[in-house]
């Protein structure tokens, strides 16, 4: 069927205003936040309600049209770069919060709800939704679930998967599949929700999601520990965890990151420090006081130059705003920022930092590193210009080596950004041929024609 005829078919489902096929619109959906070549879809479909998702999926399947679901397009691994000539399905208009249940501590949302807006809404009701990816101001909950997004609070509160209680989603035939429930315990059948989380749109299309909520902590204390040595900072991270203190947030910023972030946020970060740790402990007020004291002692013992506590809500917010802007602020340095999220066991952070230093020297590259050190999830960020072919070749070699080092330390390719198109070629290396074959068989059984976000995670 020609694109024009297909457009007419989609219009029957979503109306004329819901189908975009002009050149400029198609190109506007050819990329996401990943540094990868764009791919131009044939059509962009914008449904106005979730009931339209099944017929859209079925129409794609019937016509062998590759289908890529897109929320805000903020993922960093190319998960929302469409298949050339395929269809992009926009969910950002499906943004209703269907229910917030204060008694049973859950909420039901459509996939296009913006993360920060959801968190603010539940906070107004005295509840807490902890996952807070750096892009939360614009990222959607559907995208968070599809990518299993992490965030600053992952260390204590976990990531998106820890808050997904269930969901409804459409399979490739357009049938509505129900998984999980509104109960805390649910062991009925396969854990399909678990399968869908981090599936990056390759197994189904979310219609609504049931998310767990928790009571907010009663108190918290944020601190900044300043170091003149990167190794001391990374040893401190390992020591805090080894002393069985679990801060809600334990973030690392190296000197390059500190300087560029400060340039943008003016948060008062020490630009001459080699590294800082941003640490927040929360919980019962007495526990917070106790933990904060222990953290300060550990920092001082290992050799922090200074440990400063945020005394006001404004000071605390300034620290977290600074941290959340680390990646975009690094982009001030060079035109291209290649961000990785290779993750290692926490005790291996010092080794990973040493490895990154060697890689930067070997390939003569400027690498800024920040990240969720507390959960071993570092973001080495290579500052470069992808228009410089020779330099970019070195970048690609360096990225290979970053993964090698992470895997050699029993780490993983991705802590929170997903595999997408960017890392699918390393999947076998981290897992095994048999594991990849198992995944491919599952995908084939669920999506025989391979129309659901082809080329992502497992390649193909």
């Amino acid at each position: 069927m020609s694109n024009a005829k297909l457009a007419k078919e989609f219009e029957k489902i979503v109306g004329a205003g819901g189908v975009m096929h002009e050149e400029a619109d198609l190109h506007a959906y050819s990329y996401d936040s990943a540094v990868l070549d764009p791919q131009v879809p044939a059509l962009v479909i914008k449904p106005s309600n979730t009931e339209q998702l099944g017929p859209i999926t079925k129409l794609c399947n019937d016509n062998g049209l590759p289908l890529t679901v897109r929320g805000a397009g903020t993922n960093l691994s190319g998960g929302t770069i469409p298949h050339p000539g395929g269809v992009v399905l926009l969910t950002n208009g499906l943004n209703k919060i269907l229910e917030i249940n204060e008694e049973d501590l859950y909420a039901v949302v459509e996939p296009g709800v913006v993360t920060a807006q959801f968190a603010a809404k539940v906070a107004q009701r005295g509840l807490f939704y902890p996952p807070d990816p750096g892009s939360q101001a614009v990222s959607t909950l559907g995208g968070n679930v599809a990518e299993n997004a992490g965030g600053l609070r992952g260390l204590k509160y976990g990531v998106t998967k820890d808050y997904v209680m269930g969901m409804d989603f459409y399979d490739v035939n357009g049938d509505l599949i129900k998984s999980g429930s509104r109960t805390v315990k649910c062991v009925t059948g396969y854990n399909l929700s678990g399968l869908m989380v981090a599936s990056e749109g390759t197994l189904g299309v979310f219609s609504n999601i049931i998310l767990k909520l928790v009571p907010p902590p009663k108190a918290s204390k944020a601190m900044m520990a300043v170091f003149d040595d990167v190794q001391k900072a990374s040893e401190t991270v390992a020591a805090i965890i080894a002393n069985h203190i679990v801060p809600c947030t334990l973030e690392f910023l190296d000197n390059a990151t500190i300087r560029y972030v400060e340039d943008y946020t003016k948060a008062g970060l020490p630009t001459d420090a080699e590294a800082i740790l941003l640490i927040e402990v929360d919980g019962h007020p007495a526990e917070v006081i106790d933990d904060a004291e222990k953290v300060v002692n550990i920092c001082n013992k290992i050799g922090a130059i200074a440990v400063q506590a945020a005394e006001t809500a404004e000071e605390r917010e300034a620290l977290w705003t600074a941290r959340r802007n680390a990646l975009p602020a690094l982009a001030r340095a060079k035109p291209t920022t290649v961000l990785e999220d290779a993750t290692v066991p926490r005790s291996q952070i010092p080794a990973m930092m040493a490895g990154l230093k060697k890689i930067a020297e070997k390939y003569k590259l400027d690498i800024g590193t920040f990240g969720h050190a507390g959960d071993g999830n570092l973001h080495p960020t290579i500052l470069c210009d992808n228009r410089n072919k020779e330099e970019f070749h070195r970048v690609e070699e360096a990225v290979n080596e970053i993964f090698d080092v992470a895997l050699s330390l029993k780490g993983t390719l991705s802590g929170e950004h997903g595999i997408g198109m960017a890392k699918s070629k390393w999947m076998e290396k981290e897992t095994s041929r048999a594991t990849l074959d198992y995944s491919l068989r599952m995908k084939k059984a669920i999506d025989p024609k391979g129309i659901l976000n082809p080329g992502k995670i497992i390649g193909g």
């Binding site: 400029a24 619109d25 936040s33 914008k46 614009v138 982009a331 291209t336 228009r387």
Partner: protein, 431 residues
């Protein structure tokens, strides 16, 4: 120029600036147009992506890209919220010039910009004539805001209301001024701007009253022209430079410490944009423009930060509730937010109440309002709702273009709320 290859080459001049956009998407959080349409091409990263693709000839339909490029209020919210520091406004302005050079200016714009704006005498004459004859055709739609409607123009303008031209423009009363420094020891050049002159002369009068009250000398040269921003926003850089030259000529012979304007847009244009559009080889002219740009200041900021005004406090307290809308050019471009509020609070006969989303764009955006009224209205309705939620009797602001939009939106949403410039309220507090 009508060669796509040439267009692409010219856009490549912006490549170094555009490549700084890492497509993080944070602009989605603050773009008022994206909030309404939720379409990627309507937000900054989408526009930059399209310009890049046009520059690399991956997209070949320049008309479509131009259409997307123009669906922007130029409010600067994205630039103010861009962690990567992308010079978005510079990219968009220059891109508009490049694309307009390729496509050519429409006949209507050519007539208005080149035939009218560059001839201030003719422009003034025609607007004065229009003001004289508009009476029978317009009807007051809302007494409080002063907005009118025109049944005859309904097929063209729909339900929108508008500010009629003033019966007597400001410059009729003050064709020129050159008063000595008074008690303050300061002297300013006063640049009222077209909208204050022709629609809100009371704002100009308030400014003169305030400056005289505080002993500030005033230099008001005869031959001021439009600051040029409507022409640049439409991609007509030739007329923009022409208007800049006329203004520089008008002000270069005066002696003054600051150039002040009651128009946020004029202030930002003169202070920031003029210098960017000069041929760098013309060093003498560049120095003149730089000197004026350096002296240019928002009048609220001048009064609070330089003069250090303090209104008399013998006024009776309470009364009308006033709220303040931050014009984008003041808050996002120039960082002026506290000073207008300080002036409003100094008039104790008003009760100041902050509205929600005070610094969110009102949706005017100059010609955006003309070409994309549906979007402009949706954005403006949210602003009107915030004004009403604050329980305001008066919506004050520091930009006459915002005053036009607020008047229309408040009139259409039931009326009853006055729209005033901060200067009017401050002027009321002094004898």
């Amino acid at each position: 120029m009508n060669d796509l290859k040439q267009l692409a080459q010219n856009l490549m001049e912006l490549d170094d600036q555009m490549v700084a956009c890492m497509k993080c998407g944070m602009c989605q959080a603050v773009c008022p147009v994206f909030a309404e349409t939720m379409q990627e091409a309507d937000v900054t990263r989408g526009k930059i992506a399209l310009l890049e693709k046009l520059a690399h000839e991956m997209v070949r339909d320049a008309d479509q890209v131009n259409e997307k490029l123009n669906r922007c209020l130029l409010c600067g919210s994205c630039a103010a919220n861009c962690p990567s520091g992308v010079k978005i406004m510079d990219i968009f302005m220059k891109a508009r010039v490049i694309v307009t050079t390729y496509k050519g200016l429409s006949q209507t714009k050519k007539m208005i910009f080149k035939g009218l704006l560059t001839r201030p005498k003719l422009f003034n004459f025609l607007t004065e004539m229009s003001a004289k004859f508009q009476g029978p055709f317009t009807k007051v739609a809302d007494q409080a805001s002063g907005a009118s409607s025109c049944a005859m123009l309904n097929p063209l303008i729909g339900e929108r209301t508008f500010m009629p031209l003033a019966k007597r423009p400001f410059r009729k009363d003050y064709p020129q001024l050159d008063t000595p420094r008074g008690t303050s020891g300061l002297k300013v050049a006063f640049y009222p701007g077209c909208v204050v002159d022709k629609m809100f002369p009371q704002v100009g009068h308030a400014a003169i009253k305030i400056l005289e009250y505080h002993g500030v000398g005033i230099f008001l040269p005869k031959a001021q022209a439009c600051c040029g921003i409507p022409t640049l926003a439409s991609g007509d850089s030739d007329t923009f430079v022409d208007l800049m030259k006329q203004n520089v000529k008008a002000f270069e012979n005066g002696t003054f410490d600051y150039l002040v304007t009651p128009c946020a847009t004029c202030t930002a244009t003169i202070h920031e944009t003029w210098i960017k559009m000069i041929d760098t080889e013309d060093a003498v002219f560049k120095d003149k423009v730089q000197a004026i740009a350096d002296k240019t200041m928002d009048i609220n900021a001048f009064l609070v930060d330089v003069v250090g005004v303090k209104a008399p406090s013998e006024l009776s307290k309470g009364g009308k509730v006033v709220t303040y809308h931050d014009p984008c050019h003041l808050s996002k471009s120039l960082g002026v937010t506290a000073q207008p509020r300080a002036l409003l609070k100094s008039n104790q006969s008003y009760e100041f109440k902050e509205m929600n989303e005070a610094n969110r764009c009102c949706g005017c955006g100059g010609s955006f309002n003309l070409y994309h009224y549906d979007l402009s209205k949706k954005i403006g309705e949210r602003k009107a709702e915030n004004v009403r939620d604050a329980g305001a009797d008066v919506a004050a602001t520091g930009c006459p273009a915002c005053m036009m939009q607020l008047s229309d939106m408040l009139a259409q949403s039931g009326g009853g709320v006055e729209v005033k410039h901060v200067l009017e309220i401050y002027a009321d507090s002094i004898k």
